[in-house]
């Protein structure tokens, strides 16, 4: 985090934090790659913000070490780490103009007046705030304040940019716009971005990797498609989106993957069964399931009855119940849904073997 203009590589080893008897963060180890866009995702109180504050240097970890480009920075105060930071609610200096806000980190670093003027000018152009230089934060819209916060955090070319739920105050349309803008800034600057959110779609859309937190623990880290399609546990599976879960019996390895019995019918999975032999949960995302009249021999399928449908415009959401009472939700083309409902109810749900994954039975 100390070399300007160069993306930082961060290593956290065994980081823990207790506030009194509350364990905010437990034994977290995580490598953040140079120039990566890492999202810390989790519900409130999961420890994601605590970890961000530890990265920024505002919170001192109770145990563990933190390295930036190989240098131990655990005990370094925030002002000497100088990670760029964008706060929830922006935290702009209300008594300074847009220009002065953005110039602040450069002035602190005692840059020459000419240098400050040039870099602030460039940054204002880059975030599209031209013409607003002399305004005070209170005279700007939410989106514009957000841009000032981003510009101020990036103008001194920090090795890492930390973002604490920066879009939570924006309405939906503006949110999308700012997300695109942030992605562009990430590509242009090449800086390491660490982004905190509780919005899973935001996390999946923006990041190169997602780290999912719950109850102070880091549960899984991986590329968006990796954590979405192959979650390690039930919490991650459910937090990242809707998921159907079917109880399986007699799960055992078979060939490249594994097989088991789903409501007395053999189904196969591509994933290995090592961790979850015997009883397990088969999890499948709704969009990977389709409806047909009959499952072909060897095809994964289960009989179910359509109970309810919700018209969504582009597709219809269909709720079904299997013979043994498992509740399933699928998203299917409108005419398929209409046919399924009119057809005396009983249909087959099928899915490709590589789209199902196994979770341990019960618990997490």
């Amino acid at each position: 985090m100390q070399q300007p203009g160069r993306a930082a590589e961060i290593k956290a080893i065994g980081i823990g934090k207790s506030f009194g008897s509350f364990r905010a963060l437990d034994n977290l180890s995580l490598d953040i790659g140079r120039g990566e866009f890492l999202t810390l995702l989790g519900p409130s109180g999961s420890g994601k913000t605590t970890f961000l504050m530890i990265l920024a240097g505002f919170v001192q970890p109770s145990e563990g070490r933190l390295f930036s480009d190989g240098v131990d920075i655990t005990d370094r105060p925030a002002e000497q780490r100088a990670a760029g930071m964008v706060f929830q609610g922006y935290a702009l200096f209300p008594h300074m103009s847009v220009e002065a806000n953005i110039a602040f980190p450069l002035k602190v670093r005692k840059k020459s007046a000419a240098d400050i003027k040039r870099r602030v000018g460039e940054m204002i152009e880059r975030v599209g705030l031209k013409g607003h230089e002399k305004k005070l934060p209170a005279q700007l819209s939410g989106g514009q304040q957000q841009r000032v916060a981003l510009a101020r955090a990036l103008v001194f070319e920090p090795g890492v940019l930390l973002l604490d739920e920066p879009f939570s105050a924006l309405d939906k349309g503006l949110r999308g716009q700012m997300q695109a803008e942030m992605k562009r800034l990430h590509q242009e600057t090449g800086t390491t971005f660490v982004f905190v959110t509780h919005d899973q779609s935001e996390a999946l859309a923006l990041s190169s990797r997602v780290a999912i937190f719950n109850h102070g623990k880091l549960l899984q880290v991986g590329a968006p498609d990796e954590v979405y399609d192959r979650p390690d546990n039930r919490f991650v599976a459910e937090f990242l989106g809707e998921i159907n879960m079917l109880p399986l019996k007699g799960v055992h390895p078979a060939g490249d993957g594994s097989t088991g019995l789903c409501e007395d019918r053999a189904v196969s999975m591509r994933c290995k069964a090592e961790a979850v032999r015997g009883d397990a949960i088969l999890a499948i995302r709704p969009e990977y399931m389709s409806i047909s009249g009959e499952a072909a021999a060897g095809e994964n399928g289960i009989a179910a009855t359509a109970t309810n449908s919700t018209y969504l415009g582009a597709a219809t959401r269909l709720d079904l119940t299997t013979r043994q009472g498992a509740k399933i939700t699928v998203s299917v083309p409108n005419e398929v849904a209409a046919a399924a409902l009119s057809k005396g109810n009983s249909v087959w749900l099928t899915w490709p073997a590589e789209k199902g994954f196994l979770l341990p039975h019960g618990g997490q």
Binding site: A56, A78, E79, F87, Q88, P94, F104, P105
Partner: protein
């Protein structure tokens, strides 16, 4: 609509006794004072002309403004330091600061003025101690002059400056301070370039309150000034009670009230009354 009206009626009724009291105890007598200023000893603007030419009145006015200005600067600076501790300190620090702010309210202004005399006079604690350790041979003139007046008034007024400052500091968003430090600013620099400017309304409010209070001080300058550092309120007292010069005393009062009124009007252009509590 009806409930809105009845709310306003209720508020007016609740305020009525206070308003009535203020009218009877202040406005009405003051109206009499205004009348004197134009009628005594002879009708006309003579007293106001005298104000413009009387050297004594003018020197007292200037001294009052000077003392009030010094007291304001010192009080607000000291109150600022105490308030920072009170609002942002640890639990123990807060408790001590709160004690220091509240205790002076329980001790009368007269007691405090005499307390300062005991400390500052030629044979007071400070001078006798400094002489005992051989630091000085002659006692320092700490009282019966402007210095004594300023010390006594500052001591009295600091707690009044604390509340507007505390209100400004409490409403400050902590994340802005974190942001400054995160951007590389040291604690010192963050304090001067972010914290202090963001509490500007509190500083203005505190300064105005202290300044306005200072202009009307009577007991403290009378005791600690020892008749040599006469301030405007004492001058009015002397004109009314000791020399039968009611007209001039009244005219000075009117000018003082108008001046304070103008200051208050200026204050409320920058600060909302709510921010002063």
């Amino acid at each position: 609509m009806r409930s809105y009206l009845s709310d306003r009626m209720g508020a007016a009724l609740l305020m009525a006794p206070l308003l009535l009291f203020l009218v009877l105890a202040y406005a009405w007598p003051f109206f009499g004072v205004v009348k004197w200023s134009f009628t005594l000893p002879t009708p006309g603007l003579g007293q106001y002309e005298a104000l413009l030419t009387d050297d004594l009145v003018q020197s007292v006015f200037i001294r009052t403004l000077r003392i009030a200005a010094v007291v304001t600067v010192v009080s607000v600076a000291a109150a600022y330091a105490i308030t920072v501790v009170w609002v942002r300190g640890t639990r123990a620090q807060r408790l001590i600061a709160e004690f220091c702010i509240l205790v002076p309210f329980w001790i009368s202004v007269l007691t405090r003025a005499f307390g300062w005399v005991a400390l500052l006079s030629n044979r007071g604690l400070i001078n006798s101690w400094l002489q005992a350790i051989g630091f000085i041979s002659e006692p320092l003139a700490l009282v019966r002059n402007e210095f004594g007046v300023i010390v006594g008034m500052t001591h009295f007024l600091i707690p009044f400056a604390v509340f507007p400052l505390a209100s400004a500091m409490r409403s400050l968003d902590d994340r802005v301070l974190l942001a400054a430090r995160g951007l590389g600013s040291s604690r010192m620099r963050t304090f001067w370039t972010v914290f202090v400017p963001m509490t500007r309304s509190g500083i203005i409010g505190a300064a105005m309150i202290v300044f306005v209070f200072s202009l009307g001080f009577f007991v403290t300058p009378a005791i600690l000034g020892g008749g040599r550092s006469v301030m405007i309120a004492e001058l009015i007292y002397l004109r009314i009670f000791q020399s039968p010069d009611w007209g001039l005393g009244a005219a000075i009062s009117v000018v003082l009230v108008l001046f304070v009124g103008a200051l208050m009007a200026l204050l409320f252009r920058y600060v909302r009354p709510k921010q002063l509590i």
